[in-house]
């Protein structure tokens, strides 16, 4: 198998969520001397982006997203230490969590995978994360971005509660705040005073990079 064939197959097997094949092709690719970045950026990430696009179009539903996400996560396990070895600094650090009172986390987990694939360091606080827990994590990890995920009408108000808590702790300006989840809209994100919103995982990465470079440019100025 040549390089193009391998990348093509890696893309195809990720798309259908065949985790054992994805893992074996990842190892094969590395054995052929392909860099971890190439496997990520020329097969795995584009494939997961296509999964997201098919979900948006209604061609895929949640299980297809989940199995593809799982397959990609398996490859990341192998690639993560290699990426660390290359000495490349993560392009940013993000703390993520599903807000207090909510245990929906499929969307958040996919966002995490895409962030990690894009070269971010991701600290996942899991589900039902209280404002205090977010604050402690920000103190401990000093992230560039903090992401709140919510899926229920009754838990969306936790965005505002989290932001208020950050304000009270004098930490609001330290971090970029991004919000998302099925019921969330740009309008709602604006109302609660978040810095960014995205409707899916690939858009979240694009938006995060934008916000990050804006902030870094500002810091340099």
């Amino acid at each position: 198998m040549n390089q193009d064939e391998l990348l093509r197959q890696l893309y195809d097997f990720t798309l259908v969520g065949n985790a054992p094949e994805v893992l074996s092709l990842t190892n094969q690719g590395l054995a052929m001397g392909l860099g971890p970045e190439m496997l990520l950026y020329e097969a795995l990430i584009p494939s997961l982006e296509e999964v997201g696009a098919r979900f948006e179009r209604g061609d895929f539903f949640v299980p297809e997203m989940l199995i593809a996400g799982r397959a990609m996560a398996g490859a990341l396990e192998v690639l993560r230490p290699l990426l660390a070895e290359t000495g490349a600094e993560p392009i940013g650090k993000i703390v993520m969590g599903t807000v207090k009172g909510d245990v929906h986390d499929i969307g958040k987990n996919l966002v995490n995978i895409m962030f990690e694939g894009a070269g971010f360091e991701v600290i996942d606080l899991g589900v039902q994360v209280s404002p205090e827990k977010f604050i402690d994590a920000i103190k401990e990890h000093k992230p560039d971005i903090v992401g709140f995920s919510a899926f229920l009408t009754t838990t969306m108000p936790m965005f505002k509660a989290n932001i208020n808590a950050l304000q009270k702790a004098g930490m609001r300006e330290q971090v970029i705040i991004m919000v998302g989840g099925a019921p969330v809209t740009q309008e709602y994100a604006d109302v609660v005073g978040a810095d960014g919103y995205a409707s899916d995982a690939s858009a979240a990465v694009v938006r995060a990079k934008e916000l990050l470079s804006q902030r870094r440019a500002l810091a340099r100025a």
Partner: protein, 217 residues
């Protein structure tokens, strides 16, 4: 009445018992997994029915449409059931809030969900094809609460089987359908005039209980 398939059976029973002259149109309950499709489907049907001169009401709560059903109601001058979802209507929003505050990892069942669990949950979420996804979906749940409308032995057994599948404790709350009936009463208002007076033509064929039920694919 345009209703969610999950409530259709109850609405039909209540309307028959109360002698309401309503035409019941059920949309598939599975639309809940694609809530952005609920309002467009309801709108098309509502416009058709209004075109026939009928007064229309929605047997839906917000149901994850995140306001889309409310704006539909506003546009067409119609009303819906109150609350965020049918659980609010069946058990009361206060009771539900308390339940989720006490244990956010609560998964709710209704008679409909107990009966259709395999089809509407296991099959829809791909758990029959990929049982390994179970922890991705349900790993964070701590208990099941069954809001029961009318229990019987087979349903009890089904619910127990579902709880065993989760390996979680099951709490049963007998809500009945009183809450739904009160809300429907408000929705249909004072007894509407018989169909022929509204449409000026002969009513569609009725079932023996005087009710017309249509299912929409």
């Amino acid at each position: 009445m345009i209703a969610c398939g999950a409530l259709g059976g109850h609405i039909r029973e209540i309307a028959a018992r109360r002698g309401w002259a309503i035409e019941l149109h059920c949309l598939p309950s599975l639309l809940h997994n694609h809530p952005e499709r609920i309002a467009p489907a309801a709108e098309q049907l509502a416009r058709d029915l209004q075109g026939r001169g009928l007064r229309v009401a929605l047997g839906y709560a917000d149901c994850g449409s995140y306001g889309a059903l409310d704006s539909l109601c506003e546009r067409l001058g119609i009303r819906r059931l109150p609350g965020l979802h049918c659980y609010d209507v069946l058990a009361g929003p206060g009771r539900l809030r308390a339940m989720f505050e006490a244990e956010p990892g609560t998964y709710l069942l209704t008679d409909f969900l107990v009966r259709s669990f395999r089809r509407s949950v296991l099959a829809e979420l791909g758990l029959e094809e990929y049982p390994e996804l179970w922890p991705d979906y349900f790993g964070h749940y701590r208990r099941l609460v069954w809001l029961a409308q009318s229990r019987d032995a087979p349903l009890d057994a089904e619910a127990a089987a579902i709880a065993a599948m989760f390996g979680l404790p099951l709490t049963v709350i007998d809500t009945g359908t009183g809450g739904l009936e009160r809300e429907l009463e408000l929705l249909v208002g004072p007894m509407p005039p018989p169909l022929e007076h509204l449409t000026g033509s002969s009513p569609p064929p009725t079932a023996p209980d005087g009710l017309v039920t249509r299912r929409h694919p």
